[in-house]
Symmetry: C2
Subunit: 397 residues, 2 copies
């Protein structure tokens, strides 16, 4: 292990995406993540395709570098083992429907009694409290209920889901940040606490700008294709052979004359309708056809060269294969290989965190189910071979 | 101030969105954020509409609770003041084009010499190193180059930008997390370090699943409307009067028969083509018309009631006004009011972080430009009235 979080131990009861993304982010930075899984079936993400030699690529990507301990939390001896591990942990993470841990007799109050320094983080669809608390939620549910699907898509068109699991992932990132903040506070107080992250709340936090605009104007934000709601031009344009993104914001308004000259429309430079970014946004209906027509006249590469020479921020609209082959992505080592006993070396996305003195490293495989049960029970709890065998026979691990 | 990060002081040189979102997240949790702005013009986000009584709602939302200090970093005495503040800071945050701080004589090496405990975090479009490092980037540029626009939209349709500034915000969240990890490490080593976050890298990290699928199958991920690439049904459906999202994942496959009966298609229950979630995804072309046709037969409310009774995760597709008025959002206090001297009390989105012992609180306004210059120089650096006046006359603050 390497990275800034060396020495931090996380007992991770979470499954599928929001929790595992959170513990991946922390594990990538050097935390020891002990993934506590149900015996026999484990994290259901192990069964999610596509598969490489029968191994879930979904699971491999999210669980690299973690340890796997099987534990039956409904079994009295499983509970006992769990509570002994809690005494030696810094963080417990779970993403069950609220109430699940209480029904197991393992809610925060019980865990805190074992270890007052414990940071207990729960991620759920709607939070631990409130009228929807007990409802199950999945990514697309909170993306739908949280509003982002209503502002994603073509103007006047049907709702579109952004092409990533923002419901889970943004909650996972807020949870990781909140856990680290609670650990920071623990340095002063010596005490842990409970962190309660709602996926729906995180959707709202992600969209602070849409809400700010709505509260300021009373107008309900609408889908805008590739446009930015405030700045113009700040969008994708179709070119002769593909798409290009161009972005000008307020403080770069001095680039507007250059852009006008690049598209052979110097007549627009002094047009008062289009003087500032906000003017251009207000007059978008008049401006858009002019720009779209102009941008279709050259290829993406021609535009990239020409606009870059004028220091106008621009870039291609890349597909995933192009991103994976990109020079900058290669330089930053954003794609790395981790070993896997059956799937072979598997390419996964690296952490984006770069640090000068304790750089994070992604280099270990995902665990087989229960791969580290023995090691964890022996090294952390000092159990002997016989006791471990017995726990296995009883169905506790 | 309140929250887990009380006592952490951030000198925030960043502007517009990625950096300010990062420092907002940390400030909401109790860190003292001193926003260092250019004299006269300040953060250019102050000029971004829409406006409330002439005040930028964009700026108000992102900068609540921060202090504003004007400082001319190109002025020798401005630099000197900055370095004295660095001695008393835990974190410096900036999101300039790489090289800007070096050209000011204020790069990490210089700052570290002043304060070896300093965590220096830089957010940039492409990172501090690599072939694109010097390119300016804005949100839509990295959303385009990072691939998410290519997987967002209707199948076969043009690229769509997800309706939030994911390029900036996800980078801001990773930066906040990395800063806290570096502070955690500092508790052990007594030393700070440099954190280098690239917006493009963060886009890749956000899409680990799209890359995992691409590496596993060689198929380039495509836009899927509202669908999930792995699970089915997991999408929005048009109803008689709107849209509803329904989500079934692998482990809930026992809900498939219930769903089939809810839509009056019990014949599908034993259809081997649609047995598992992954089967259904593979046979989506055959299944989709059947489901879409069925879902159009009832209203959103009718479906919500019926499917919820069967414990099938579902929810409405809400517009932003509906989210703002939602009962759960109200219960979670996700919309709060902050005071503003001219715009009046303004509604902003709360932090989604809930903690049991040191709960974060969002309650203070955004600062006027330079509002806290006097206070910071006096309280932190012990400057007298006369010296502060002189700095003002010389154009250093």
């Amino acid at each position: 292990m390497a990275g800034p979080l060396e020495g931090i131990r996380i007992l991770d009861l979470s499954w599928v995406l929001s929790g595992p993304y959170c513990s991946m982010a922390l594990g990538d930075m050097g935390a020891e993540v002990i993934k506590v899984e149900r015996p026999i079936s484990g994290d259901m993400a192990r069964g999610s395709g596509p598969f490489i030699n029968g191994e879930s690529s979904y699971f491999i990507s999210l669980n690299r570098g973690k340890k796997s301990l099987t534990l039956n939390l409904a079994h009295p001896r499983g509970k006992e083992v769990f509570l002994r591990l809690v005494e030696r942990a810094d963080v417990v993470l779970e993403n069950f429907v609220p109430g699940t841990m209480k029904s197991l007799g393992l809610d925060y109050e019980v865990l805190r009694a074992c270890n007052p320094r414990l940071v207990y983080a729960a991620i759920s669809g709607f939070g631990q409290t409130g009228p929807y608390a007990q409802r199950p939620a999945m990514d697309v549910i909170v993306q739908g209920m949280g509003g982002i699907m209503s502002v994603t898509g073509e103007p006047g068109g049907p709702p579109i889901r952004p092409g990533a699991s923002l419901g889970d992932i943004v909650a996972g990132l807020f949870a990781a940040m909140a856990i680290l903040a609670a650990l920071q506070e623990r340095e002063r107080s010596g005490l842990g606490q409970m962190v309660d992250i709602s996926m729906l709340d995180c959707q709202v936090a992600l969209q602070e700008n849409a809400f700010a605009r709505y509260f300021a104007t009373g107008e309900v934000p609408q889908p805008l294709g590739t446009r930015h709601p405030v700045f113009t031009p700040f969008q994708a344009f179709q070119t002769k052979d593909g798409y290009i993104v161009v972005a000008m914001v307020g403080g770069m308004s001095n680039r507007w004359p250059l852009f006008c000259s690049a598209i052979d429309r110097v007549d627009l430079i002094d047009d008062p309708r289009f003087e500032t970014g906000w003017n251009r946004t207000q007059r978008y209906g008049e401006l858009e056809p002019i720009l779209s027509e102009a941008m279709r006249r050259k290829t993406t590469q021609e535009w990239l060269k020409e606009l870059s020479n004028l220091d106008i921020p621009c870039g291609p609209v890349n597909t995933i294969d192009k991103v994976a082959a990109d020079l900058q992505i290669a330089h930053r080592r954003m794609i790395v290989e981790v070993p896997h006993p059956r799937a072979g070396p598997v390419k996964v996305v690296n952490t984006p965190v770069r640090m000068s003195r304790t750089p994070p490293k992604v280099e270990r495989a995902c665990p087989d189910l229960g791969e580290h049960s023995r090691e964890v029970l022996r090294d952390l709890l000092g159990m002997g071979e016989e006791e471990i065998e017995e726990l296995g026979r009883e169905g506790a691990i």
